[in-house]
Symmetry: none
Subunit: 244 residues, 2 copies
C-alpha cells in the first residue's frame, strides 16, 4: 500500500496505538494532537486518508472535516467517544467516509482504512483533486466553474482575464505539485520548446495581486516554478500586507 495517513487525536495513547497498527500494515502515519495542526499540515501537503477525533482542543473534528471538504475529497474517518455523536454523523451528511465509536477495535479500523482506500483508488484512479459533476473545482475560498469559465472568491464574482483564468485553473488542478515555468509555457501559452520568456512570471505577478486577499497563495519554488498553497497566518503577517 504505502499510503500516507494523518491522525488527529489529543490522546497520545490512541494516536500511538493507531500508528503502530497502521504502520504494521506498511502505512505511513503522522499524528497530530489537534485537528488544527492536522489541517495545517494537510493544507501544506495532503495525505491519502485522514482520521479525526471529534473531541479535541481547538476546533472539533466536525469543523476540521468541513474545512478539509472545502478543497478535497480525501477519505476521512471520524472517531467519536459518544454514541450521540455517531448519530449526529449519520444524521448530517458531513462527508465523512466512516466513523468509529470509542472504544473500537484497531484491527477493524485498519481493515476499514484498507477498504476505504481501495474504493477511493477504484473511483479516482489516482488524483486527489476534487471536481464536481458541474465542472466546479475549488481551492481555499476560490471556486472555478469550468463550464461558464467564471470564478468566485468567497461567493463573490471574481473577474479574471483569460490568461489568469487558465493559470489559476491549472494551478488548482495541480495543487499537489510544483509546476515548472516550462510546463506553464507549454500548457498555457503552447510554446513548444524552451523559449526564453518571462510571460509566465507576468501572469503570475498579476494573479498574485488579484488573489492577495484570498486564502490561497502562489509560492515560488526557487529555480523551478510555482505552486498553489494555502495562505497561512504568517503569510499575511510577514511580507505581504496588501490594503487597497
Amino acid at each position: 500500500m504505502d499510503k500516507l495517513i494523518y491522525i488527529a487525536d489529543d490522546d497520545d495513547n490512541i494516536r500511538n496505538l493507531l500508528k503502530s497498527f497502521l504502520e504494521r500494515e506498511s502505512f505511513r502515519c503522522i499524528g497530530f494532537p489537534t485537528g488544527d495542526a492536522l489541517f495545517e499540515a494537510y493544507s501544506d501537503s495532503p495525505c491519502d486518508l485522514v482520521i479525526l477525533d471529534v473531541m479535541m482542543p481547538g476546533h472539533d473534528g466536525f469543523y476540521i472535516l468541513k474545512q478539509i471538504r472545502k478543497t478535497s475529497n480525501v477519505p476521512i474517518i471520524m472517531l467519536t467517544a459518544k454514541d450521540s455523536d455517531a448519530d449526529y454523523i449519520q444524521g448530517l451528511d458531513l462527508g465523512s467516509d466512516d466513523y468509529f465509536t470509542k472504544p473500537f477495535s484497531p484491527v477493524k479500523l485498519v481493515s476499514k482504512v484498507k477498504s476505504v482506500l481501495k474504493r477511493q483508488e477504484e473511483i479516482t484512479g489516482k488524483t486527489s483533486v476534487k471536481e464536481t459533476d458541474d465542472g466546479l473545482i475549488s481551492f481555499a475560498d476560490i471556486t472555478i466553474n469550468r463550464k461558464t469559465k467564471e470564478a468566485t472568491l468567497g461567493g463573490e464574482p471574481f473577474p479574471l482575464t483569460p490568461n489568469e483564468y487558465a493559470l489559476l485553473t491549472y494551478l488548482i488542478s495541480n495543487r499537489d505539485r510544483a509546476i515548472s515555468r516550462t510546463e506553464l509555457l507549454d500548457k498555457i501559452w503552447g510554446y513548444e520548446t524552451q523559449v526564453e520568456t518571462r510571460v509566465a512570471d507576468d501572469t503570475v505577478k498579476r494573479l498574485r495581486k488579484k488573489i492577495s486577499h484570498s486564502g490561497a497563495r502562489i509560492s515560488t519554488i526557487w529555480g523551478y516554478g510555482f505552486r498553489l498553497v494555502m495562505r497561512t497566518a504568517e503569510d499575511s503577517g510577514e511580507g505581504d500586507d496588501s490594503e487597497d
Copy 2:
C-alpha cells in the same frame, strides 16, 4: 528512451506516419484501428503514452479517454480533425495532456511526446528506492517530496537550493552505493558542462553543512566520490561537534 506508445486512429496513413516518426526517435509503437482495440490492449498491458484520434469507428476518442482515466494517469494526447473538438477538449478538461488539430506537424507531435514523457518522469521520479504514491522518498529524518520539490528535516521545512536538492535526491535514491564524482557531474551538472571537477565538492560541502544536524551524513570515498550513510554515535563524538 525505450518507451511504449499506443496509437489509435482509423486512418492507416496517419498511424504509419506517426509510427515512423516516433520509431525514428526510438520509441516503440503499436497502432490500433479503433479506440476499443487500444483500450483492450491497454487493459491487458499498459503503455507509457497514448495517442487517441477523436473520430473513430466504435466508441470515439473522448469515450476511450474517460475509460482509461478511470484506472490510469497515463499521458494521453488527442488528435482532432475539427477546431470545434479542440474547443470541446479545452472546455471540458477531460484529463488529456494535450491535443493536436489535424493536419499537424509530426515533428511537433514528437517533441510534444518527448516533453510530456520527460515531465511525467520528472514527477514520478525514477528511483530504485521505495517511493510512495505521493512521490515521497526519505532517508533518516530527511524526507523529499518529489512532487512539490520540497524537503523536510524531522517534519520541519528544510530549504535547499536547486543543486543541493538534486544532489540530495540523487544520494538518497542511490543510498546503497558510493557515487563517483564523474557520475555526479554527469547526472546533476549534465554531460556537456565544462566546469571544474571541484564544483561537485562545493555542493557536497554546502549540503553537508545543512544536514549536519540530521541523522544522515555524506561520507567521503577517498579517491572516488561520496555516499550517503546514517550518522552514528561515533560520528558526532569525533569530528563533528555542531553547536548553534
